[in-house]
Symmetry: C2
């Protein structure tokens, strides 16, 4: 799967969060596309880029409850009505649409009764309306909140979650997660030299065995859960 990450940040070189995410994105197969760095917007080029990808992600810091002006400018220029839904032609149809939003506030601030009184999903309504109109598949939002308050291990976890958001299959099920990790592990083992490679292969074999066991455990758990009080009998 090919993913286009349309990044908007007017001062990206001074954003350590964006630098961190960019580094993470380089380890997976995506196109990092920073709109404020473009010298003018070549609509044909942008549409070819979009056409070559199955997943389109808008990534930005929250500026007054939406993307910076740079992304809106890109959207207004690249997406004409005709291109998105004119004459019954849906050029973006069935592509996946995701949002990566970074914010200095905490996730809990975005809820009824919180500082912002609105949820992030409510604020993202215009993007969702766009994806809906374009017949795209909408992915759950990926929130990066208060990045610099996170511990190093939380940041590492975030990085993995971010990489999975960029190119793991959805839904984010155990099976899809396993498949994604296995693929990355295989790639890693392939890159090792002969001596390390043997140990690497051993790790891979063990991992695959564990997955089989996990699958069985998961089936059992599912059956138990379905029998619980909350379920419809």
């Amino acid at each position: 799967m090919k993913t286009l990450v349309v990044v908007s940040h007017p001062d990206i070189n001074n954003s350590q969060t964006e630098a961190f995410l960019k580094k993470g994105s380089e380890q997976v197969d995506v196109i990092w596309h920073h709109v404020e760095s473009l010298k003018g917007i070549d609509v044909d080029f942008e549409r070819k880029l979009i056409g070559s990808c199955e997943r389109i992600i808008f990534q930005f810091p929250l500026y007054w409850y939406s993307a910076p002006a740079g992304l809106k400018n890109w959207i207004d220029k690249v997406f004409s009505r005709n291109y998105v839904y004119g004459d019954g032609q849906y050029h973006l149809a069935d592509k996946e649409f995701g949002l990566v939003v970074t914010t200095g506030l905490a996730k809990k601030d975005f809820q009824v009764g919180g500082i912002e009184s609105m949820t992030m999903d409510q604020l993202m309504a215009p993007y969702r309306a766009f994806a809906h109109r374009a017949h795209m598949k909408i992915l759950p939002l990926f929130l990066v909140d208060q990045f610099w308050y996170k511990t190093e291990s939380q940041q590492q976890q975030l990085l993995i979650d971010y990489q999975r958001y960029l190119n793991q299959d959805f839904p984010d099920s155990l099976a899809n997660r396993q498949a994604w990790f296995e693929k990355r592990l295989e790639k890693f083992v392939d890159g090792l030299d002969e001596a390390d490679g043997k140990i690497g292969q051993l790790i891979l074999d063990t991992y695959q065995q564990q997955i089989d066991e996990l699958d069985q455990l998961n089936d059992t758990l599912k059956m138990i859960k379905e029998g619980e009080d909350d379920s419809l009998e």
Copy 2:
């Protein structure tokens, strides 16, 4: 009351809807401020302009479910966090905040089950979140849908409603509507020459008499309504 109408339209000279609204705005006491016409954004000047007005309105055609990039650029530049709510200072507090949105779709398209599946209020969530954070008073949205499908008399009605939205007191009660009309009628009569002025004064007197009668009728109606089936006894 002083009203600032922050208008965003990248091609305003070719918009007949905007021309129509602009002409209407000239008959009431507002500042028409087209952001795409500005040569750069002088933040201090913009803030002084805002500071001098009690009602701030964002007016724009719906481009992919929000304002054109030009307005977002203006917002991102003019409103710093410090200006809006930093250090417990709320520079926009208690000002009224309105939205005038023009769209080629019909109002009924914006509802669950409609073409857009979302309401205009849902789409405007980011602006409402902004006004909420700034401690502004939020006015109901003013929608101009399918302007060019309207008959001439519908357009005239729209123009009056638009003018009232710009500088009539809220809420949009009968009393506030009457006061607004009366003020405009007085101004009109004042502008007449002596011969027409006498007739004008007669119209004004009749209008004021009718208002008194309307007030009485309204009180009676209110009492009847309160006694109806749906009301709590």
